[in-house]
Symmetry: C2
Subunit: 203 residues, 2 copies
Amino acid sequence: MDTGDTYHHGDLRRALMEGALACIRDSGLEGLSLRRVASAAGVSHTAPYHHFESKGELVRALGYEGLGRLDERMGAAEAEAGGDPLERLLAIGAAYVTFAVDRPDYYAAMRAPEMAQPHAGGAVEEHGESWERLVRAVVACQGTGSLPAGDPTVLAVGMWSLVHGLAELWATSPIPALPAAARGCGPFTEAVLRAMVRVGAAD
Amino acid sequence: MDTGDTYHHGDLRRALMEGALACIRDSGLEGLSLRRVASAAGVSHTAPYHHFESKGELVRALGYEGLGRLDERMGAAEAEAGGDPLERLLAIGAAYVTFAVDRPDYYAAMRAPEMAQPHAGGAVEEHGESWERLVRAVVACQGTGSLPAGDPTVLAVGMWSLVHGLAELWATSPIPALPAAARGCGPFTEAVLRAMVRVGAAD
DNA sequence: TGTACATCAGTGAACGCGCGTTCACTGATGTAC
DNA sequence: TGTACATCAGTGAACGCGCGTTCACTGATGTAC
């Protein structure tokens, strides 16, 4: 009960990851330091090395976890959206932006330089499942004619860029300055996505 | 001729900025250090303080210069595109992506945390001229019916997000991994923009 | 159930690093008379 | 054209900082017999 609190910590690995996320939330990815994380977990600054080979490995662990969470959110949103392919596509996109906005900690870790380390090939490959989910959704839309025919990966890149950029703009805060964004991130995102997807329509 | 090379340097301020850009190109924004830049310019590491109050001011100088260059490029592309509003809009967007891809140094500086410093309100405000250029282009498209009616800022945010995200994806290198991107950044970007702008069209 | 021992998960001291920044300085340049 | 002087733009030594990482260590835990 004396040393029990810190020694043979229940799950220090987990605690370190949560602490690191909090640290990123507070001071950004560049403010993340192993020493800070360790001290936040109430542990000496060398203790993390029993759970992560290096700082980079911690970041990578967070990044991969984030990728997983993101894909879960996208999957859940897609399922909730019902049967219409375009609605499903929009739901996926909106989920991406929402995730990035309310989990900036994971989002930052996912895009950390350390994530490019293991094998160059990079993010699309890491985002493998999500990317395939997106392509599938685009193809489905093409099937019902709600998106024009043609190379689906080109449209998928467009959609990916759109939500990625939107998330980025929210994060760096120019968007909240817009009057139209007063309705909040979710609704505004949906408005933008719908507007973009209707572009060129006869209306 | 002896000390002439370094002492009362022709234009050390400029040399430092160029050195800093090179440093960012080589090792990214987080690899930028005043000491490295100074030594690359062949000058003691305290010399920069006669030209910049702090490291942050250097970064900000680069950022604002980058914003200017970007807007010039967008303006030139727009003018070259001729009279059709949609072509002009596409040219603006393509110029954004191209700039980000071939001047990653400026692009990084523009999005540096130091740029948020002066007044919260942020990037859209800094991007003031470019943002207005974009909105004008969108309104023109709505005028000729090549974009649907409605709040032009929503569409402008969509376009901005699209090119911003596309630039980001090129930079973090998932895009080059796509087979469709083999044709190169410029043509691929144009294909994506055209595809997105045709979404929903009767085709 | 006890004992011996390997392993695990902590500790604190120490290392070397590059960094931004301050300081007192000095030599070159430009200007007023 | 000369001289005196202010200013400008460099210099090198020094500061303190937080960082990642290594090291030898120690006490707790789990396991084999």
